[in-house]
Amino acid sequence: MSSKPVAPSLLDPAILLPAIKGAFVKLDPRQLVRNPVIFVTEVVAAVVTMFFIRDITTGTGSPLFSGQIAAWLWFTVLFATFAEAVAEGRGKAQADSLRRTKSELTARKLVSAEGRETQTIPATSLKVGDIVLVEAGELIPGDGEVVEGVASVNESAITGESAPVIRESGGDRSAVTGGTQVLSDWIKVRIAVAPGNTFVDRMIALIEGAQRQKTPNEIALSILLSGLTLIFLVAVVTLWGLAGYSGTVLSVTVLAALLVTLIPTTIGGLLSAIGIAGMDRLVRFNVIATSGRAVEAAGDVDTLLLDKTGTITFGNRMAADFMPVPGVTEAELADAALLASLADETPEGRSIAALATGEFGRQTPEVSLPATGKGEVVALAVGGGASSVGATRIDAVIPFAAETRLSGVDFGGRRLRKGAVDSILKFTGIRDENVPNEFRRAVDQVARTGGTPLAVADGPRLLGVIHLKDVVKPGIKERFAALRAMGIRTVMVTGDNPVTAAAIASEAGVDDFLAEATPEDKLAYIRREQQGGRLIAMCGDGTNDAPALAQADVGVAMQTGTQAAREAANMVDLDSSPTKLIEIVEIGKQLLMTRGSLTTFSIANDVAKYFAIIPALFITTYPALAALNVMGLASPQSAILSAVIFNALIIVALIPLALKGVKYRPVGAAALLRRNLFVYGLGGILLPFAGIKLVDLAVNALNLV
């Protein structure tokens, strides 16, 4: 993940200042009630404030103490709301620029689908099924499908990618997005999504977190946190009665302090910030998820369904080797292949030239081809010998064509050709039974390893075989090994025959492959895996991918894909990069890990707080309990205040971690658990002992109690 986009700094005033304001706005109990732990904290803070006011007006109790406790309880609530506000603030800027693009959209609605007569209406009054005309320089008013015309479109407003893309009717490039600009030509677009629900709208809502609903795991975690809050509420309330038995009367202030330090305020305060930050991370990777549920599911994915082309291999097959027949040197074959490919502009043809001049060290021929198709090879001499060619006039150039499936060049009486094996055999006129054994063996060998053999001939003479193969992207094997360590299986999906597929699968190190796959095969495969309880992620772009995308637990559609695919998927990748799936999984895992780590930390913190507060509460009744004051806190009041202050400050201290996320390493669950349990579990038990002690030293140095 070297290209990781940089997150805006936490201390950026553009984010910080609105967040501080937002923190206060979020104190509204009607809003806060969604977060039970912090809501309870707010109620308790309000109650203690009342006691503070009572203390100050009646002169009873110690207003200095209750005032400080009340203040720090309010800070606890504010720090929690601040965390959420900061997390939201980071997406705000992006949302604002998006909103600008759509604010003044107008549409030119066609009066009739055939004609070009239009009426101009605001984009917001478009209905699904309306057809609009968009010409060069205009913004597309809404999401839809091109029904007529071809245009180049600048989608940088959404993707951040400045190179224009082609949109045309029919096929897999027909989807257009509202807010993008037509640069040339014109298109007619059938509106497919009602205004307010378009891609840009969803993106804005998502980034701002306005529509953020709790994800299933978040709900479950909230239940745990609410349950713990209830348990501690019971423990604290009953403590009043238990203390009464020994004649101790506990004040509401100290009980409130005990309650707030025990309930899981740390994770309660940071939970929604973690969720927003996870979505935000995804957005920075140029992926838009339609629901938080999908991000969570990404962390759970067991199987990745990856398209071979573009993900595992480069899009095209490339020449990998020259295999001459006996009597022909490699150099000779390479030169012949090089010359025969001069007029082959396909990626395969170019890869042959690249192999010959690169790995095989042949010289690049200097060619000047006049418009007639005839020209002159000026220099073509390397290493001398039979293959050397001087400056020669070219008699004919045969460009590659799909019908003939060969290309070549004629000069000085030589007729060099390269192409599909049967095409070349036909060209040479060699009959099947006369094909040399060595040649046949080479062809078989290439086919067996999943490659595509091409033959090279000089007139009637066979020179040898070119091994064309799918080249696996460098580094992808390591990537898959890392996924395997995480417990994720990778399945390659390809239209190739099983032999070819198996060869590439083993080279790329995928766990399984689906050869000669049709969209129905994909769908069936996903269903089968899901029945076994596995969660599947896949990406796709075509309309025929839509059912599988909808069926998959995590379906990622390419931004360049069709409207149908984008609707079916629960994420859209704006970069249209199929390898993005791997990053998405990592982001999902990171989100869950952060949540778990902070939950563990928060709960583990309670141990120290008991040791701070319990002796402080009862030291007057039972002086012997001073033995429990293992931190050696100076006085009962400073002990209680220190625990409350530590409890509030730890929320602020952990905001960066909540937003950045716990670092994910692909090392397998057992190793991850060991590490995180050590850091956040054991650390969570030990850190507060030191932290509360330090705060206590500060509290006493400043004479706060």
């Binding site: 299933p216 709900i219 479950a220 975690l221 239940i223 745990l224 349950g227 713990l228 209830l230 348990i231 019971v234 423990a235 604290v236 309330v237 009953t238 009043w240 009665g241 238990l242 203390a243 009464g244 038995y245 020994s246 005990l258 969570e296 962390g299 759970d300 067991d302 995480m486 417990g487 299986r489 029945q531 076994g532 309880g533 869950l592 890990m593 949540r595 778990g596 780590s597 939950t599 709960i603 309670d606 141990v607 008991y610 319990i614 002796p615 509460l617 039972y622 012997a624 033995a627 429990l628 994910y664 397998g668 669950a669 057992a670 991850l672 658990l673 995180n676 349990l677 956040y680 579990g681």
Partner: protein, 569 residues
């Protein structure tokens, strides 16, 4: 502490360890409905019972039907037991001619035995007829234990099955647990106990004239038969008032061993059965390891605290080497009393062979704390297992996210539904224990029942409600529990501790069963490793025990530190 003491303790754990696997495998066979060595004899009996009761053993129940059956059975059991206790004067086998129990005590006792608590606010030998002891209490010693096993089996099947809507048949599980597991072992155990010297007779009490010429009543009765199932079913309700400290209930060091062995073995083996039935024996061992760690730690603390003795008394010149022998039987000594105290409270047995109220501050803290942890070490037969599963669910939920996946236990996703019920279940103990204790501590007439001044008095109340809510049944002594207030509130605490816990657990089982079992991968949170054992120990201590820390601080902990400071109350 002495090496001999530790050897005695280790020997018992080794003996239990040896039987865990064979007994666990046997129970797995029994509850899977497979043939076993008792089938030739007992299968006709079993089928006859189904025929008589009109139960189709092939027909399985969903979680709700299973739960309703369990509740209906318990309710019927309560009603019949209550009737027996109230009417014992008119029932046969009452050679001592005891009168019927008063209503509040009968309520308390009936609830106590139906919930497998066996809290005794009565003195058995001076209150109950042989009929009440045998047809009333002993019957429930069997079936309340079998009920616990049945619930545990439903939970086990929930994890073992995938996409299942049923969890087994309560009546079948109840019958098999009684017939194939408890009954045969109880017969052997009762005979062994008779051999060690326990009485087994229908005769009335003996009256003896002592050397000084005083008359002494020597209580007798069918002791051995009740004693065997008292331990096997982790009931703990003794025939005699002083329970297993009585020389007729627990006459020798060997019978003491037999007692502890009997209470531990079925509970521990049932955990192994869980592992076997869910197809992951390592999971069973992981739970057993958690149990062993906490239980041995408990034994060690009690043993150490008792061997240290009471510093205030040694200051008066008492031999420090003797440690604290108050409330202990000389024939057992500190090691065996410590072991018994930890095991009886780690389980929900509740039998005692010494007075827990006479333990030192720390020594008394441990039994109370072990009960507050939810009695999962290894807990009552069945109830301990499902309590452990609830903790495992909490553990994977809290820490499971740390591996970057949503939490799962044994391939079943833990989601909000399970969390809701799990939290409801774990809420029951603190609410019941702390709630009733706090209210009692504030009511003057409830405080009047306390036997000792100072923090020990609070410990007495706390212990009583802890024992009741945990369905343990052991007492701290000192507290006069046979009052309308305590009979009623302790009865309610027992009901809540049993059923308000078991119902959400059954709901969890129902929800877990329908889920698809996700195959494990390298990315799955491992729940059968030493790391998980450590985590689960931590979760049990922090989530299960921490909320009781303030209450304990005001009771046994302050007692301990006061003792060190030489302060008395």
């Amino acid at each position: 502490m002495s090496i001999i003491g530790w050897l005695q303790i280790s020997l018992l754990f080794i003996a239990v360890l040896i039987v865990i696997k064979p007994l666990g495998l046997y129970m797995a066979r029994v509850f899977s409905g497979e043939r076993n060595i008792f089938s030739p004899v007992l299968a006709p009996v079993e089928n006859g019972l189904y025929l008589a009761a009109g139960v189709d053993p092939k027909k399985e129940q969903g979680w709700l039907a299973y739960t309703m059956s369990m509740l209906a059975f318990s309710l019927a059991g309560f009603a019949s037991l209550y009737a027996i206790l109230r009417l014992q004067a008119y029932l046969p086998m009452n050679p001592q001619g005891f009168a019927g129990m008063p209503s509040d005590l009968a309520f308390n006792t009936a609830v106590s035995f139906v919930t497998n608590t066996n809290w005794q606010n009565y003195g058995g030998e001076t209150t109950l007829s042989h009929f009440s002891q045998m047809a009333g209490l002993t019957v429930h010693n069997f079936v309340s234990a079998a009920t616990g096993i049945a619930i545990a089996l439903a939970v086990t099947r929930a994890f073992a099955r995938s996409n299942a809507s049923t969890l087994g048949n309560f009546w079948v599980d109840l019958t098999r647990a009684t017939l194939y597991v408890l009954l045969p072992i109880a017969v052997v155990m009762a005979l062994a106990m008779v051999w060690t010297g326990l009485p087994q007779t229908f005769n009335a009490d003996l009256t003896a004239t002592t050397l000084e010429g005083a008359k002494q009543t020597i209580s007798l009765g069918p002791v051995a038969s009740q004693e065997a199932i008292k331990q096997l079913g982790t009931n703990g309700g003794g025939f005699f008032n002083v329970n297993a400290a009585h020389p007729f209930e627990n006459p020798t060091a060997f019978s003491n061993y037999l007692n502890i062995f009997a209470m531990l073995s079925i509970s521990a083996a049932l955990v192994y059965t869980f592992g076997q039935m869910v197809g992951n024996r390592r999971q069973g061992w992981a739970f057993i390891a958690v149990t062993a760690i906490l239980l041995i730690a408990g034994v060690a603390v009690i043993y150490w605290a008792e061997a240290q003795g009471n510093s205030i008394l040694t200051a008066f010149g008492l031999d420090a080497a003797q440690g604290n022998m108050e409330g202990k039987e000389v024939r057992f000594g500190q090691a065996m009393t410590a072991l018994y105290a930890a095991v009886t409270t780690g389980l929900s047995d509740g039998g005692v062979n010494g007075m827990h109220g006479s333990l030192t501050g720390l020594g008394g803290l441990v039994p109370m704390f072990l009960m507050q942890l939810g009695e999962v070490l290894p807990g009552g037969v069945g109830s301990g297992l499902y309590g452990m599963v609830v903790f495992a669910i909490l553990a994977v939920f809290v820490a499971g996210l740390m591996v970057g996946r949503t939490p799962e236990l044994l391939g079943k996703k833990i989601e909000s539904r399970e969390m809701k019920y799990a939290m409801f279940a774990v809420l029951i103990l603190p609410v019941t224990i702390l709630g009733f204790t706090a209210v009692s501590a504030m009511l003057p007439f409830a405080v009047a029942s306390v036997g000792t001044a100072g923090p020990h008095g609070l410990s007495e109340i706390l212990y009583a409600f802890t024992s009741a809510a945990g369905n343990n049944g052991s007492a701290f002594g000192g507290l006069t529990g046979n009052t309308p207030w305590y009979n009623t509130t302790l009865g309610l605490a027992m009901l809540l501790g049993r059923f308000a816990y078991a119902i959400p657990v059954m709901a969890i089982a129902g929800s877990i069963a329908v889920k698809t079992r996700v195959p494990a991968s390298k990315g799955t949170f491992p729940t059968d490793t030493p790391l998980f054992v450590g985590l689960l120990v931590g979760i049990i201590l922090i989530l299960g025990g921490l909320q009781f820390f303030p209450a304990l601080a005001l009771g046994p902990i302050v007692e301990h530190f006061s003792m060190l400071a030489g302060q008395t109350f």
